[in-house]
Amino acid sequence: MDPPSSLKLLGSWADSHTHRVQLALKLKGLEFEYQEEDVINPSPALLLHNPIYKKVPVLLHSDRPVVESVVILQYIDETWADNPIMPSDPFERAVARFWCHFAEDKLAPAVGAVFSSSGEGQKAAVDQVHDNLKLLERELRDGAFKGQRFFGGEKIGLLDIVLGCGSYWLAVFEEVMEVKLVDPGTFPVFHAWLKDFEEQNEVKETIPAIDKLLEYARGIRQMMLRLSNGTSTTVPATAGTTGAINVAVDGSSG
């Protein structure tokens, strides 16, 4: 009988940060146990292992918790050396880390704002997403990632995982919100990278089917619109859905 895996992942099926960890573990060929968390009602285990943020994902390795998806990815890479996720060159590592920070700090909130706003506010959010995608497009076309198939080179790496697990929301929001976010004419290299990423076997096994994501997003959007009636309300956190669906819905800001 196989010994129980020393790896356990607390996650949520629609959470892009959870997908990052699942994908990394798959790419490394690591077996793990998965526990689905209700992000609105975190389990005692989640509260115990991530008392500060109370969020998924949490990776337990021999019962020791690692939290924060980008930290988890680097932990996995340092602990299991095969199929590296991080570049070996220090400067390339810095570049990857910088754009991971950008993805969390600028891109994800902008995408989340598209989802949670309407009218003029939404238009501004869409413009923000475009501005951020322009920066990535430029880097792919002429900058640090020029001529590469993936951000990680010939194979998927840290930045592909971080950007890719979350970028599928772009297509979902385009449909649910009826906006154009990734026009292949404006962002040809980014668009091509995303399609290529989504075709990888391990990615297809990790990311939920688009109709499930659409249904989920529509449900959240309807709830937000019902709650938004000129007053400020906080929509329950769906941790890391785009990194930013935990928002205050304020009807007046549109």
């Binding site: 500060i52 930290v71 680097q74 932990y75 400067f91 590592r93 810095a94 880390r97 910088f98």
Partner: protein, 208 residues
């Protein structure tokens, strides 16, 4: 082992705690570098070209190639110049250090900013948040990282968290004056106090 860069330049400003972190790390590692002082009210074309995404200091330019974002820069410095190491060898301990480094940026920096920028009730709220989060960090580090011995979080010698907190010490003291409130108290957060005070006493920090 990585080839050592030939030319290292730091774009910064003495009022930026983040730039101070990079100065400290470079000096601790004995790295020779050129310092370019930026006027934060009137940023140079060069800075805007080197950091088009954030347009901020610090930026470390290594053989002509820029790296921005202080935490990214600090990790780069530790990757290239090995001694003394700022991060532990053990991956689990490294993950803990990275967690707490992120915590400073996400849970301490924003209320500190709030204290600086607001007044009245809003400022009081920011102060309370800052102190509560600092205590959380003290407790967390004691539990997860610190083993008694040495004034630093890292032990006898400063590590990444000591560089980060130590480099914010002056800025915190300034905030305390501005706000008229004690943010860092020995009986509340003794470990963080001792690491910041010890850091301020380091030769590399005292020497300009």
């Amino acid at each position: 082992m990585a080839d050592q860069p030939k030319e290292v330049k730091l774009y910064g400003n003495e009022f930026s705690g983040y730039a101070t972190m990079v100065h400290s790390a470079l000096k601790l590692k004995g790295v020779a570098y050129e310092y370019v002082k930026e006027d934060l009210q009137n940023k140079s074309e060069e800075l805007l070209r080197l950091n088009p995404v954030y347009k901020k200091v610090p930026v470390l330019v290594v053989d002509g190639e820029p790296i921005a974002e202080s935490l990214v820069i600090l990790q780069y410095i530790d990757d290239v110049w090995k001694n003394p190491p700022l991060l532990p060898e053990d991956p689990y301990k490294r993950a803990k250090v990275q967690f707490w480094a992120d915590y400073v940026y996400h849970k301490l920096a924003p209320p500190a900013s709030g204290i600086r920028r607001s007044e009245g009730d809003a400022r009081k709220k920011a102060e309370e948040e800052f102190v509560a989060n600092l205590i959380t960090m003290e407790d967390g580090i004691r539990e997860e990282l610190w083993s008694a011995g040495g004034s630093f979080i890292n032990g006898e010698k400063p590590g990444l968290l000591d560089v980060i907190m130590g480099s914010c010490y002056k800025g915190l003291k300034y905030l305390e004056d501005v706000a008229g409130v004690k943010l860092v108290e020995k009986d509340r957060t003794p470990l963080l106090c001792s690491c910041m005070e010890a850091f301020a006493e380091l030769d590399v920090v005292k020497r300009p």
